[in-house]
């Protein structure tokens, strides 16, 4: 073997090894949660309320709470994010304003989530007077996921071939018609990707909901968007650090982690399926 071939072989072995390590870490985490959590999972655990100082019973309120927060934050963030993305890619040229907005969006993505939590508390909970509520928490989480949605929308639109735009305009379509009838249908499956990514993030965030919506213990399901809820990540935190009987509630914590991970996986699968059907419909 020549030196060139040898160094090539060493390089590729290293790359492979490192990739495998990354995959292995993921599997170890998943395996750990599954082994510890799966034994707790039962119908009662999924559909029941926490009982006896959260050492028995189930986590239904937290599941419902997280579901509410996912839906609520997407109702708020998806339209805003997609419309901003459209504005940036279709209406702004490559100019200063666009670079500025891009810069700010990137900065927004880099803001620690606890800061979002504080901001949400100051603006939604206190100033706007929503109190600790689903709406305050959803809006805070929505803000957090905006950069991802804006960015993926922009990228999705950028990947639409310009010849489709010119073709549409040449037939006398206005810019708005072109975007609505040609550009968006083509870009939509990729925009959905942004939604998937942000749902994954929203469902796992703890810090932003800490001061805006999350309840320590609230066995009743929410009645309106002004109610507080329990949420899976916060419930997990509570069980692991500040339960009344920590040793006894530990299995419940692993069970909660298990449910949270399965929930995220399910959402991803569902959204992936949606994206595939949509893009098949576009290409036919």
């Amino acid at each position: 073997m020549t030196r060139k071939q040898l160094s090539q072989r060493i390089a590729f072995s290293t790359f492979t090894l490192i990739s495998l390590v990354v995959v292995a870490i993921l599997f170890v985490i998943l395996g750990f949660i599954i082994v510890r959590g799966a034994s707790v999972i039962s119908w009662e655990f999924i559909t029941g309320k926490p009982e006896e100082g959260m050492t028995k019973g189930g986590i239904l309120p937290a599941i419902v709470g997280t579901g509410c927060l996912i839906v609520g934050s997407m109702i708020f963030a998806f339209p805003v994010g997609v419309l901003s993305g459209i504005y940036m890619n279709e209406y702004l040229g490559q100019n200063r304003l666009r670079r500025f907005i891009n810069f700010m969006t990137n900065n927004l993505a880099g803001v620690p989530s606890i800061v979002f939590g504080l901001f949400g508390m100051a603006l939604f909970v206190n100033y706007l007077g929503f109190g600790d509520s689903i709406i305050a928490g959803s809006m805070t989480l929505g803000l957090l996921s905006l950069p991802v949605i804006i960015r993926t929308t922009e990228e999705a639109l950028k990947s639409v071939d310009d010849s489709l735009r010119t073709g549409s305009l040449a037939l006398g379509a206005t810019k708005l018609q072109t975007i609505r009838r040609v550009v968006l249908p083509v870009a939509f499956p990729n925009i959905i990707t942004g939604l998937i990514l942000s749902i994954g993030r929203v469902s796992g965030e703890t810090a932003p909901i800490l001061f805006t919506v999350a309840a320590y213990f609230l066995p009743n399901l929410p009645q309106s968007m002004y109610d507080q809820v329990m949420a899976l990540p916060y419930h997990l935190y509570v069980l692991a650090t500040s339960g009344t009987n920590m040793e006894e509630s530990r299995p419940m914590a692993y069970g909660t982690a298990f449910v949270l991970i399965v929930l995220v996986l399910l959402v991803n699968l569902l959204a992936n399926l949606l994206r595939k059907t949509l893009s098949k419909r576009v290409k036919m």
Partner: protein, 250 residues
């Protein structure tokens, strides 16, 4: 009678002077070929007629461009109205990722026609004019993306014809096609000439010779010569035209 006219047109991309004092007229039911080496301004000139150059920022136009006696750059003119009346076929076939039917119906739909009976009729007529009807009549709901390149280009021509344009602009419509598809498109252009005024940019001199009545030779942003095609090819007045046609540069 004159269908379209450019008068003392100067066009700039930023500081670059792309078209230099060009005047040219186009008679109804004729095919005019625009030829010249790459970068000579012929495509830019073509795009003046449906104001596609405006899509690129930082351009400037001097002089006037009229279609059917109307200045299409006048202040009160709506640009989408202009583009509806002037069809364009591009170099690369660019069908929308929709069905064949919806591709042809698109121009009508965006202009507010949604009546099924009208659309059905226009779709059929346009596809017939574009010599594609026989090949697709049983598959109108099929995706346009499943057609071959040559069929896609004829679909794009049908799509342009559906809005009943007065003028048809073609930007190297056959350059991305195989020889058989190319000859189909050329036959089609010959047919369409009966009803439409066509301006076509082409790099293929034989093609220009075969299908056009008039030829304009562009060089470095200037219109060097514009005459009957036969005269241009057999007996050009300008030495540069002669050189280009005989393949000495370009």
């Amino acid at each position: 009678m004159i269908q379209a006219e450019a008068k003392n047109v100067n066009f700039y991309y930023g500081d670059f002077h792309a078209l230099k004092n060009i005047s040219m007229t186009f008679e109804p039911s004729t095919v005019t070929a625009l030829i010249g080496p790459s970068g000579c301004g012929k495509s830019t000139f073509l795009r003046l007629f449906n104001r596609m150059n405006e899509l690129i920022g930082n351009t400037k136009l001097e002089g006037s461009v009229t279609v059917d006696g109307k200045d299409i750059y006048a202040r009160d003119v709506q640009v989408d109205e202009i583009r509806k009346r002037i069809g364009m076929v591009f170099q690369k076939p660019n069908p929308f990722p929709k069905s064949i039917y919806e591709n042809v119906a698109y121009g009508l739909r965006v202009n507010g026609t949604n009546k099924k009976s009208v659309l059905d009729e226009v779709v059929e007529n346009s596809l017939k004019k574009a010599a594609l009807w026989e090949e697709v009549k049983d598959n109108l709901r099929k995706s346009a993306m499943a057609l071959s390149g040559g069929q896609q280009q004829r679909l794009c021509i049908a799509r342009a014809l559906a809005v009943e344009p007065h003028l048809l602009l073609m930007d190297e419509p056959a350059s991305a096609l195989d020889p058989i598809s190319t000859s189909k498109v050329e036959d089609l252009i010959f047919e369409l000439k009966q009803q439409y005024t066509i301006i076509i940019v082409t790099h293929n001199l034989q093609q220009a010779g075969r299908i056009s009545d008039y030829t304009g030779f562009f060089y470095l942003g200037s219109l060097i010569e514009h005459d009957k095609t036969q005269k241009m090819f057999l007996n050009p007045a300008d030495e540069r035209t002669q050189s280009y046609i005989t393949g000495r540069f370009g």
